[in-house]
């Protein structure tokens, strides 16, 4: 479930400034991102493949819960991008992630998606240039939660496909 070097480089080029344009990355990868007010609180988001037109290609879509804070919506999008890039062979047409980002796939798979999402939103090559700022300032700059930024800073580098 590794990521091709070309894709890694491609994503890295898209991570050119903080905050990372996560919906832009999704769009470039061919994913449509939507918000839904009807997702229950137990669901963080989902990734699904639409039926497509009789002549057209099927399209992958990401849906996030509209009521969630922006930082959470961004993480959800990043998490679903990880599933799209790394785990598309592990589900048929739809993958629904609950509030703790569990989708029925194995824990290591979900952990990989979480780590990948963290790498997407908080890439080290951007972090290192502003590492002297406080976690709070960094969280604000990268549009992630302060707690997530602290985990990122304190847990060190987790080797994944990007970041």
């Amino acid at each position: 479930m590794g990521l091709d070097k070309q894709v890694q480089d491609f994503i890295r080029r898209l991570q050119d400034k903080a905050p990372v344009d996560i919906t832009g990355i999704a769009k470039v990868l061919g994913l449509k991102v939507w918000e839904s007010s009807q997702l229950p609180p137990e669901i963080a988001g989902k990734l699904f493949r639409d039926r497509g037109s009789p002549l057209g290609q099927q399209q992958y879509n990401i849906v996030v819960r509209a009521q969630d804070p922006v930082v959470r919506k961004r993480f959800t999008v990043a998490h679903e991008i990880a599933h799209f890039l790394l785990h598309s062979g592990l589900f048929a047409t739809e993958l629904v992630d609950d509030a703790l980002y569990r989708s029925g796939l194995s824990s290591p798979v979900e952990a990989q998606a979480n780590a990948f999402a963290a790498d997407l939103l908080m890439p080290w090559h951007l972090l290192m240039s502003v590492i002297d700022k406080s976690p709070s300032e960094l969280a604000s700059l990268f549009q992630v939660s302060e707690q997530a930024m602290k985990i990122r800073l304190e847990s060190g580098r987790i080797p994944t496909a990007v970041g």
Partner: protein
Amino acid sequence: MPKLKMAALWIFCIGFPLALWEWYRIIPGEIANQPKATYAELVTILLTGLTVALALFAAIAGVLAIWGYSNIKKEAATVATGAVESTVKTAVDKHLNDETLGATIRRELRPIVLEVVREEMPPDLVAGLYAAAFPQAPRTGEAPSERIAEELPGENNGAR
């Protein structure tokens, strides 16, 4: 009770040879025909009994001394252990409750713990922490937050 025992021992040590000598003196028959013991012999017997009694007493005193030494040693160890435990507990309680020291320990330990976490914590576990690091909206009175994407088409009629 020990006094009674000692008295009994003395009585036995003196009385037994005396009784033996008296019995030997008064019994009839061949034994009676043996020459009568003289007072010098009686004194010798008594002194021998006394010697035996003193030897027994010395042996008992020796045993008691060894037993007493071992007990004193044990008691001294118990008292010393109790005193040390009490002193150490007091010192530990006093210093651990000291906020300055507590803060110092926390400050010193934090980088060490973080280093251990960084080195030892499985990446899967760290990644799992991210899932809980993004707070949800409160469940009551929820309203859509700032948009990052368009509303899903057909949302209101239930179609996707």
